[in-house]
């Protein structure tokens, strides 16, 4: 699968989708004008990836900010990896947040109350 690298802007995140390395990474800010059109290609890539995944998948979220419309997309992404993990594949989600950003830490914890997937919390 081709590596997808999207450079972030003031309202869209940096995205790295690398099947060879099993790395799926989002960083920066996410408040795109049209969440659907921004995330649709990402979700399509992930759908294809979980058909023939790497032996180890690492999903990294290192976001400074995301709006509520993006929060649903993040949930959808996590659900794909919950399925992958349930099928016995090795998956690790890393949720990073700025040291003083309690809301971002809480947002991560909330996702992991909904989605059953191995995860780690990191502050930076």
């Amino acid at each position: 699968m081709e590596v997808i690298k999207i450079r972030g802007t003031e309202d869209t995140p940096n995205v790295l989708l690398d099947a060879q390395k099993g790395i799926i990474e989002f960083s920066g800010r996410s408040l795109p004008e049209d969440v659907m059109s921004f995330y649709a290609p990402v979700l399509r890539w992930i759908e294809e990836y979980i058909e023939s995944p790497n032996s180890h998948s690492e999903v990294i979220f290192r976001l400074d900010y995301f709006n509520t419309a993006s929060s649903k997309m993040i949930l959808d992404i996590l659900i794909y990896f919950e399925h992958l993990s349930k099928e016995g594949h090795e998956v690790l989600v890393k949720w990073s947040y700025q040291k003083d950003d309690e809301d971002m830490a809480d947002a991560g914890e909330e996702y992991f109350e909904i989605v059953n997937v191995p995860y780690e919390m990191h502050s930076y």
């Binding site: 003031e10 509520t68 809301d103």
Partner: protein, 191 residues
């Protein structure tokens, strides 16, 4: 020259803004570009007096959700060619509190009367909930709420209530048999 007395009008707008401690007042089309411009204006301003980062994030968050509500849910929403959505409304941000240490965001837009009962019920439901209730509602809405093609899912209002810890202060002013003016005031307090 016409007799239009702009001096008095401009001066009175100026005085009103100062008296109410409004830092930004805008009436008109709300687009994504406007949202980006206003949030970066507010961020720069808050940076200029080294506003606390938690406050900054909260203000930014409330501004984004309020502006997106206006751009996506206002009555006269138009779908712009390749430019997303735009709606009309009024957007105000100002300072409040004893020493002007807090912020508030005020919005207003026209909605159809037929949409009022549902919106009002939803706002009341949010206001009756405590912190844990809101958290569960947000999770439920995220799981079950289908994201409409406009990206709504009602998450914005729940999120505003959660991030600020304040009740949603709203009103509906009847314009005529068809339309009402919906106002919302969100306070962001230093806690």
């Amino acid at each position: 020259m016409d007799k239009f007395d702009y001096k008095e009008l401009v001066y009175s707008f100026h005085k009103e803004m100062l008296a109410n401690n409004f830092t930004l007042v805008y009436e008109g089309e709300i687009t994504h570009q406007i949202t980006k411009a206003f949030t970066s204006l507010a961020e720069n301003k808050m940076d200029s007096y080294s506003e606390d980062s938690t406050m900054k994030k909260k203000v930014f968050h409330v501004m984004v959700e309020c502006l997106q509500n206006l751009s996506k849910h206002a009555e006269d929403v138009r779908i712009l060619k390749n430019k997303g959505y735009s709606g009309n409304g009024i957007f105000i941000i100002g300072r409040v509190g004893q020493n002007n240490e807090d912020y508030h965001v005020l919005t207003g837009n026209v909605i159809e009367n037929s949409r009022v009962p549902e919106l009002e019920a939803f706002l009341d439901k949010i206001n009756q909930m405590n912190k844990d209730g809101l958290k569960e509602l947000y999770k439920k809405q995220m799981r079950e709420g289908t994201l409409s093609d406009k990206g709504g899912a009602g998450l914005g209002l729940i999120d505003i209530a959660r991030k600020t810890g304040e009740k949603l202060d709203y009103n509906f002013i009847k314009i005529d048999d068809e339309r009402s003016f919906y106002t919302l005031r969100t306070k962001i307090s230093r806690k």
